[in-house]
Symmetry: C2
Subunit: 263 residues, 2 copies
DNA sequence: CCTGATGGTTCAAATAATGGACCTTGTGGT
DNA sequence: ACCACAAGGTCCATTATTTGAACCATCAGG
C-alpha cells in the first residue's frame, strides 16, 4: 500500500459519530506507529484536508474538502440533478428517497437525499455513511448491473452481518443479484437496519456502466403489495430520468422494462 | 516536499474553468515526469478523490470529496451558521455577501455566499477560487488580525498584480494592514476585480485567532459615503454574530469597536 | 512524586518513490 | 497508405523518502 493510500485512509476514520480524533486514536485505528501517523496528519493539515484544534490538539476534517467538493459540484452538478429527480420521486412515494454512487469497492456514497417528513415513523438517511453492497437495495442492484471484474472483486470480500436479516453467504447473494438483474430492482428487507424495507433501481453512465442507484426506504409496515407497483413504477421513472439527465445509457433490456412500467 | 504534498497538489489544478485534465496536462502543470504523475493520479482515483472518464481518460474530482465535505459539515455546521448570518447581512445591504476562511498560506476559501439579485449590475462570487490575501478586503483584514508568524510567512511571498489597482509592495501592504487593525475593517477598491469595492470584517476562533472574514462586495458606484456607515455597521454586526455562533472570541479592543457600531 | 496516558521529535535503517526509456493507440498531414 | 507526433500508459535499476523504536515533555489521577 502506497504512502498516499495510507495517508488518505486517515481521513476515513473521521465520521459524524467521531468528528475529532487525537494522534493516539489515529495511531491505534491505523495500526501504524505514532511517528508516521503524526507526519501524515501534519501533511494533511498543511494541505488543508485536516485542521487541528489549537487547544485540544485533536484533528478534524478541513476546509480544503469543502472547497474541492464545491468545485466538483460546480463543474458537474450531478447532485443538483439528483435533487431535482428526487423531488419528483418524493412527491410520488412520500417516503425517504436517496441517490448513491459507487465509492471504490467498499460501498456506495450518498449524493443527495430527501428525508420523509409526512409520517411520524420514518427512515433517516445518514448521508456521510458508506452503504455496503451486500446489505442494501442500492448496493445489490448496483452490484447486479456493475461490470463483472468489479462485481467479482466485491464478492470476494467477507461481509458483515448488520442485522438478523443480513445475508452474508456469497452464493445466496449471487442469487439475489441474479434476481435484481432479471427484475431491474434491488430489494432489502431489514438487511441494513431492522424493519426498514427498501427498493432501488440502477443508474448508468454514458458508457453504459452502472455507477450507482436511486432508492426509496420505508418502514416494513408501509410496504404493502398494494403500494408495491406504484413504488416500483415511480422508482423506475426516476432512474430513467436521472440516467438520461447525466447523459447515461441503460442496457437495452432494462430500458424496455422501464418503459413498460412507466405510465 | 513530501510525496503526499505533491499528490494532493494535483487536485488543486482542477478548477471550474478546467474541470477535467488529462495525464499530459497534469504532467506539464506539476513539472514532474509522466510516470510519477500517472501513479499519483491512479492512487487518487483508487481513493475516490478523482474519477476517470472511461472514454476520454481525463481525470475529474471524485465522489470521496463530496462525502468528506458532507461529514465535515454535519459535524461542524459552520457553513450553515454562515448562511444564516449572511442572510441577515444580505437583508441589510442588498449586495453580494460572503464568508471566507483561511486556506493555508495561499489565500481564503469561500465557505458560503449570497449573490445579489436585486441589481442589474452586481458582483458574482466564484466560490471555488481562492481569494488572495493582498488583493481582497477579506484577505487584508484576515491578515491584519492573524498571528504574526502567519502574517510574516504570507508577506514574504511575491504578490501578483491582478488589476491596475492591485498593491504588491509589501511596505505599502503593511500600511493597509495597520489601517485595518485600527479600523477593524479591510477594504479593497478594485484590487481584485476592476470596479469592485469591498469591505470585510474578521472572524475569530475560540482561542482568539483570526480564521477568516465576512465581506460584502459591490460596484464602485454604489459605495457612497452615505451608505458607508450603514454597511460597516451591518458587516460589524454580522462578524460579531458569526464569531459568537462559532464559539469564537474577538480581541477586546475590536469587541468594543463592534459594540459601539452596532445600533 | 509516582504512573500511565497524551502529543510530539529524532535519526540510522529499510522501503517505496522516481524518471528515462519504451510501448501502444489515435489523429492530422501529405 | 504512410509517416510524424502527441496522447495514455508501463518497466525497473537508481535514488531519495518514509519508517519506527527510542526518546522527551506535559498533564491527570492516585
Amino acid at each position: 500500500m502506497s504512502t498516499v493510500d495510507k495517508t488518505l485512509k486517515l481521513l476515513g476514520y473521521l465520521k459524524t459519530t467521531s468528528p475529532e480524533l487525537g494522534l493516539s486514536q489515529f495511531t491505534r485505528l491505523s495500526g501504524e506507529d505514532k511517528a508516521s501517523t503524526h507526519r501524515r496528519l501534519t501533511e494533511l493539515t498543511r494541505a488543508g484536508f485536516l485542521e487541528q484544534d489549537p487547544v485540544t490538539r485533536a484533528y478534524r476534517l478541513g476546509a480544503a474538502l469543502t472547497r474541492l467538493a464545491l468545485t466538483r459540484e460546480q463543474s458537474f452538478p450531478r447532485a443538483e440533478h439528483a435533487r431535482r429527480v428526487l423531488e419528483r420521486l418524493y412527491d410520488s412515494v412520500r417516503e425517504t428517497v436517496h441517490v448513491s454512487v459507487i465509492q471504490g469497492t467498499d460501498g456506495l456514497s450518498t449524493l443527495a437525499h430527501i428525508d420523509d417528513h409526512s409520517h411520524g415513523n420514518r427512515v433517516y438517511i445518514e448521508p456521510a455513511d458508506l452503504l455496503p453492497f451486500h446489505a442494501t437495495a442500492s448496493g445489490i442492484v448496483t452490484l447486479a448491473f456493475a461490470v463483472k471484474p468489479f462485481r467479482d472483486t466485491v464478492l470476494a470480500r467477507r461481509f458483515d452481518r448488520l442485522t438478523s436479516e443480513t445475508e452474508i453467504d456469497p452464493a445466496v447473494l449471487a442469487l439475489h443479484l441474479e434476481d435484481a438483474r432479471r427484475s431491474g430492482f434491488g430489494r432489502s428487507e431489514g438487511a441494513y437496519e431492522p424493519d426498514v424495507f427498501s427498493v432501488a433501481a440502477p443508474l448508468f453512465a454514458s458508457d453504459g456502466t452502472c455507477i450507482g442507484a436511486i432508492a426509496t426506504a420505508m418502514p416494513k409496515a408501509r410496504f404493502t403489495e398494494m403500494s408495491e407497483n406504484r413504488i416500483l413504477s415511480a422508482v423506475a421513472k426516476a432512474a430513467s430520468d436521472l440516467t438520461s439527465y447525466w447523459g447515461g445509457e441503460p442496457p437495452g433490456t432494462l430500458k424496455a422494462t422501464w418503459d413498460s412500467m412507466i405510465v
